[in-house]
Amino acid sequence: MNTTAVPAAPGALARFFDGDVWHSFKSSPMAITAAVIAAVCVFCAVFANWVAPHNPFDLAAVNLSDSRLPPAWIEGGSGTYLLGTDDQGRDILSAIMYGARISLFVGVASVLVSMVVGVGLGLLSGFAGGKIDALIMRVCDVMLSFPSLLVALLIDGVGRAIFPNAHDTLAFGVLIVAISLTGWVQYARTVRGSTLVERNREYVQAARVIGVKPSRIMFKHVLPNVMGPVLVLATIHVAAAILTEATLSFLGVGVPPTSPSLGTLIRIGNDFLFSGEWWITIFPGMMLILIALSVNLLGDWLRDALNPRLR
């Protein structure tokens, strides 16, 4: 229509496609491959309802006579069940998609919770200083001196002891809390370090001089300037959180069995390893590796791309 108009200031999206990060993404085949794999995995997981060829949890659609079928390309396999079926006749491919959704949900939710807790405490620690700072950092030290898996297991165990007959949603909550409480330390330490630097910058002092409230300085002025490293940390942390969830579920203390994640599928399939039905456990395992590896590679790339010293 109005093609002669003066071009408006570029929108956020246009600026992004013109920026360094997008350029570095385009020139890194590794990053593109990882992003495509991750995108496909996430798409299949989020839209499992529509993408999956079967609904593994619809009891009416599951046929027991189809149980333990091998993948389609092996003798005895059927084209309807591309990756074979489990002991109850459920399609492995669909179960993987539904399972990946639960794994992703728990992973992303735990990362969000630990990010909020960690960034909040880190800001407070760096901004307040003194006794509060010392206390928070000592807690971090103690948490860091234990492997995160052990801490998650312990919190999970305590959760089970406090709510012995927990409802499924509560079990999810306990699991997410357990994983997030092991992850917040890194955020807190990173943010505290950057906050200590930002605190003495001119713009913070200026804000202080004109009488802005400390809480407002913290969230409106300092927070946006310390978020860069946090985002990188969060990407890598998603992969770690998914693996932790899978491990906990594999150990039998993760998500409730009514909504199996990838870890649960691997645990179930493990029982059939010796009778030769390897596909029940190996395919969910491959999916787990694909997700973790691609997200990790993306995180590595993002870290390098956002690091100005490496340019």
Partner: protein, 327 residues
């Protein structure tokens, strides 16, 4: 140096005390010991009596002191699930976990360090590329998947090695060992490899990175200029200086080995402490959880102390320099 060690000891003490406090809180507020011991139809009087007997009517600090005193003597009460003394349960399972972890740590060190040195010295060759790629996979694969894959290949398909339990063990005055029988060794192979893969990959990558760093330094050039043979330069000068970070990481990872042993023991049904702990978590068996927590914390603290002391043995510079102040 003495001040450094004293400070480390104080730190270790604080960590142990806070872990003991967490364990104590577990006992105190998770589940009601009185209800679980007396059952539903006990009278109020019986409850009061048992409360007094257990010391639960005492003030908080007295109870905590009592708990620590008991814990120091290895008394953590009875397992809620099995009704046996927790310390007896743990002592029974301890040898299995320790033997597994030690063998895994040895594999990781004895394979990881030479491979790391190789990957650094022969940078760019096919062999070193292969080692780096495999180690990347080793770092990203979850432990339980490695175990399952090993079982699939070596137990199910090839039928070479067993995948279940410890096999024949010899009882040496309460310490059951699988080292003395061929069957015990056969059972140890797969779990030990599974447990060591992650640490091995980590050590390999670390040694390679450190070695490349050190090989660029001046004293290596001088050592070459003096006409020393490659072997002396690499192993006498370079490797020695890569060992400080390797010791740190290995020390910290020794603790991680015990944590990862939980997974390995579950995959291979290895009758160790990890399996005991995971069952305790599944059944909310608080005394076992608390005791395991304290024991693992103790192992951690001791390992960290030993690592700190090893620095002085490995790096003479630290003996003169004053330790840097806290960050």
């Amino acid at each position: 140096m003495l001040a450094f060690i004293l400070r480390r000891l104080a730190q270790a003490f604080v960590v142990m005390l806070s872990v003991a406090f967490i364990a104590f809180m577990l006992f105190q507020y998770v589940g009601d010991p009185v209800a679980s011991m007396l059952g539903q139809d006990a009278t109020a009087e019986q409850r009061m009596q048992l409360r007094a007997d257990l010391g639960l009517d005492q003030p908080f600090p007295v109870q905590f002191a009592h708990f620590v005193g008991n814990a120091l003597q290895g008394d953590f009460g009875l397992s809620l699930r099995q009704g046996r003394s927790v310390s007896a349960l743990i002592v029974e399972r301890l040898p299995a976990t320790l033997e597994l972890s030690i063998v895994a740590a040895l594999i990781a060190l004895l394979v990881g360090i030479p491979l790391g040195v190789y990957a650094a010295l022969r940078r760019g060759t096919f062999g070193s590329q292969l080692a780096m790629t495999v180690s990347l996979i080793g770092v990203s694969l979850p432990t339980f998947l490695i175990g399952i894959l090993l079982i699939l290949v070596f137990s199910v398909t090839l039928k070479w090695l067993p995948s279940f339990g410890r096999g024949d063990v010899v009882n040496l005055g309460g310490w059951t060992t699988g080292f003395l029988s061929f069957d015990g060794w056969r059972h140890l192979v797969l779990p030990a490899i599974t447990l060591s893969v992650f640490q091995l990959a980590l050590i390999l990558r670390l040694v390679r990175a450190e070695m490349l760093e050190v090989l660029r330094t001046d004293y290596i050039k001088f050592a070459r200029a003096r006409g020393l043979p490659n072997r002396a330069v690499y192993f006498g000068h370079a490797l020695k200086n890569t060992l400080v970070p390797v010791i740190t990481i290995t020390g910290l990872q020794l603790g991680a080995l015990i944590a990862f042993a939980i997974i390995t023991e579950t995959v291979f049904q290895w009758p160790g402490m990890g399996l005991l702990f995971i069952q305790a978590v599944q059944f909310a068996d608080v005394p076992v959880m608390a005791a395991y927590l304290c024991l693992v914390a103790l192992i951690f603290v001791i390992v960290n102390l030993v690592v700190d002391l090893l620095y002085f043995a490995v790096d003479p510079r630290l003996r003169i320099e004053k330790p840097a102040g806290g960050h």
